[in-house]
């Protein structure tokens, strides 16, 4: 099955016409950004990867979870978020598509479903375009993914030599999308454009990293402070990260009416874990940076049974002090390899 670039535009047009929210790469201030399309012509698919991930369509940056009004002697409280928009992510990258399962594993952990996530994700389909090239920050191959991996995609599009795509519907949701798009997908086959997997962090091994992180003694290793010393705690890595899930719950509004909101937060912020009494278990920035690395390569795989890092490389691209998570992955892999060697004493 094939679809042309013009076909993708038509698909977006058709979905928008049906009132579906279409999230796709667009150009905003000359930068590729996933945004809700206002028109199909806004779609900009020629960029390697968007600056943001599309997680904000499943886990918005800010979201009302309840509304309240306070009157004399009583409070009226109303739940929010019963209805969510039907959404199609058009032109996702395989790394981002793979991150959806990670977020879901947190938001459904131990059977307690956050309906603000599941309600959105249950009504979302992901149409992914496989990558034919990466940039210097991409490292999906270092975390067990690939430029054409199918994880999390409802339809996977592989670029062909003629500039179109070979389409494969991988899920019921994907098949329904194809079935509803009369004449946009066509029968046939074409030669695929060659895929160039990103070479970054080839010596990083997530299994070895997990093993090293599992040893509580290594929590105190000098490597943490040495690597994360220059981190300024701006938290931008967490905002662009497709798997970062931390949030705050805050009340906003006027004196007698307001909203309870669930807002993105970041484990990199200094007050994130600070107790009201003054104690802060993660007082130093290197401890906070360690927490994020641990979350990606230990907590996610062991607690939530999912992938904590999809190798999109965004945290590397946006970091303005030049911290590169793959450098730490390589250093830890090396340390793990050394400690795995039989001791000279034995």
């Amino acid at each position: 099955m094939l679809i042309s670039k013009e076909g993708l535009r038509k698909l977006a047009e058709k979905l928008l016409g049906e009132g579906v929210q279409v999230a796709a790469p667009t150009e905003r201030a000359n930068q590729p950004v996933y945004a809700a399309l206002r028109s199909a012509d806004e779609m900009a698919l020629e960029h390697q990867i968007a600056r943001n991930s599309f997680k904000e369509f499943l886990f918005p940056q800010t979201e009302v979870v309840a509304r309240f009004t306070i009157s004399k002697g009583s409070v009226h409280l109303a739940s929010a978020g019963a209805e969510f928009p039907e959404t199609v992510v058009l032109g996702a990258r395989p790394c981002d598509a793979a991150s959806v399962a990670s977020l879901r594993s947190v938001f459904t952990w131990k059977g307690e479903d956050d309906r603000f996530f599941t309600g959105r994700q249950d009504k979302a389909a992901v149409v992914t375009i496989a990558c034919t090239k990466g940039d210097g920050a991409c490292f999906c191959t270092s975390v067990g993914l690939a430029p054409d991996s199918p994880q999390g995609s409802d339809i996977l599009l592989r670029p062909t030599v003629s500039g179109g795509f070979r389409a494969e519907a991988l899920t019921e949701r994907g098949k329904a999308l194809v079935a509803g798009a009369d004449g946009i997908f066509t029968e046939g086959d074409e030669e695929l454009a060659p895929v160039a997997p990103p070479p970054a962090a080839e010596s990083a091994d997530v299994e070895r990293i997990l093993g090293w992180l599992s040893d509580t003694e290594n929590y105190k290793d000098a490597l943490w402070a040495a690597h994360a010393g220059k981190c300024v705690g701006c938290g931008v890595c967490t905002y662009v990260c497709p798997t970062c899930h931390c949030f705050d719950i805050v009340d906003e509004g006027r004196a007698f009416e307001g909203e309870r909101r669930k807002n993105w937060d970041a484990c990199q912020f200094d007050h994130f874990t600070a107790h009201a009494g003054g104690h802060n278990p993660r007082e130093k920035q290197s401890q906070r940076w360690r927490n994020r690395f641990m979350c990606k390569f230990h907590y996610y795989p062991t607690k939530f049974d999912s992938r904590g890092c999809v190798g999109c490389g965004r945290c590397i691209r946006v970091c303005y002090v030049g911290l590169d998570i793959t450098e730490m992955m390589q250093k830890v892999t090396t340390k793990a390899a050394i400690s795995a060697q039989p001791s000279a004493k034995s």
């Binding site: 979870v65 309840a66 309240f68 306070i70 002697g73 009583s74 409070v75 409280l77 739940s79 929010a80 978020g81 947190v106 938001f107 952990w109 131990k110 307690e112 479903d113 956050d114 309906r115 603000f116 599941t118 309600g119 509580t216 929590y219 105190k220 899930h245 931390c246 949030f247 705050d248 719950i249 805050v250 009340d251 509004g253 004196a255 007698f256 307001g258 309870r260 669930k262 937060d265 484990c267 994130f272 874990t273 600070a274 107790h275 009201a276 009494g277 104690h279 278990p281 993660r282 401890q287 927490n291 641990m294 979350c295 230990h298 907590y299 062991t302 607690k303």
Partner: protein
């Protein structure tokens, strides 16, 4: 599909001013069905909200054996607790919970129990103490070692008096040196020191320790010297929480989410954690 972040509305039925900045609220669900169906276990916690200011995490301080209401004790420290402390009897608050694990009460049956608490950390043990006293025949000797910075900072003063009078409770009260007042009949000294003097036997015993980190550290040391093993000593961990459901990413000690896998742990379990407390 339920909204896991939506609190229940509760009415403040009674307020006790424990100290100038610590209050105990007795809360009753406004929904009749909730009033009847709500249950919890000793050691669990909840998220309490002052609408317009936000939510804070405190333990449930009354015992599960007393039904129909919730009691919680908190100190006025920040924005939320400040707003909560300004509320009056009859006002409405929000409540989400119960969350977290609990003390394995069944395994304490027939054992001698030693409670060690400091300052505002008596509430998470008060729930257990009253559960034991309400089923007194199920437990052995009950010793409570409780201290605060000053006489004024002791919470549950009326209950301390009551425990003091009971022949089946051995209450040892203490205040830090300089915190005593004329007429103070308790001890003067730090909790770990007083605990060591009280010298409870580790035989067929369990110790439950709650307090500020420094008090916990030295109390655990004292219990070790008295012969208690790490498996015999329980504590509850506290960390900042926003969701209480293992999603907001805040309360973890290494790979342990206190909100879901705690807050109740044995010292042996705490020692196995990443050094992130």
């Amino acid at each position: 599909m339920t909204n896991i972040y939506l609190p229940h509305l509760v009415t403040i039925e009674d307020i006790v001013e424990e100290t100038p900045d610590v209050r105990t609220y007795r809360l009753v669900f406004q929904d009749e069905k909730m009033r009847e169906s709500f249950s919890f276990r000793a050691g669990q916690f909840a998220l309490y909200s002052a609408f317009g200011a936000g939510e804070s995490t405190f333990c449930i301080a009354n015992p599960p054996t007393r039904k129909g209401y919730i009691e919680t004790t908190f100190r006025r420290v920040g924005r939320v607790t400040g707003t909560l402390a300004d509320l009056n009897i009859g006002d409405t608050m929000g409540f989400r919970g119960p969350y977290g694990n609990w003390f394995p009460m069944d395994s304490f049956h027939g054992k001698n129990l030693i409670f060690v608490a400091g300052g505002i950390a008596l509430p998470p043990l008060r729930t257990v103490i009253w559960e034991c006293l309400d089923q007194r025949e199920k437990f052995g000797d009950i010793t409570v070692v409780y201290g605060a910075r000053s006489v004024q900072d002791l919470v549950y003063k009326r209950e301390l008096e009551h425990w003091n009078e009971r022949p089946d409770v051995n209450l040892v009260q203490t205040v830090d040196p300089g915190g005593e007042e004329p007429g103070w009949k308790g001890k003067i000294g730090f909790v770990p020191t007083v605990l060591k003097e009280a010298a409870p036997s580790p035989d067929n015993a369990v110790a439950l320790v709650c307090g500020p980190p420094i008090m916990i550290k030295f109390s655990l040391q004292a219990l070790g010297e008295l012969g208690f093993s790490d498996e015999q000593v329980y504590t509850t961990l506290e960390n900042k929480m926003k969701c209480g459901l293992g999603k907001c990413g805040r309360c973890n000690v290494g790979d342990i989410y206190i909100c879901k896998e705690g807050p109740v742990y044995t010292t042996a379990e705490v020692k196995n954690m990443y050094p992130d407390l």
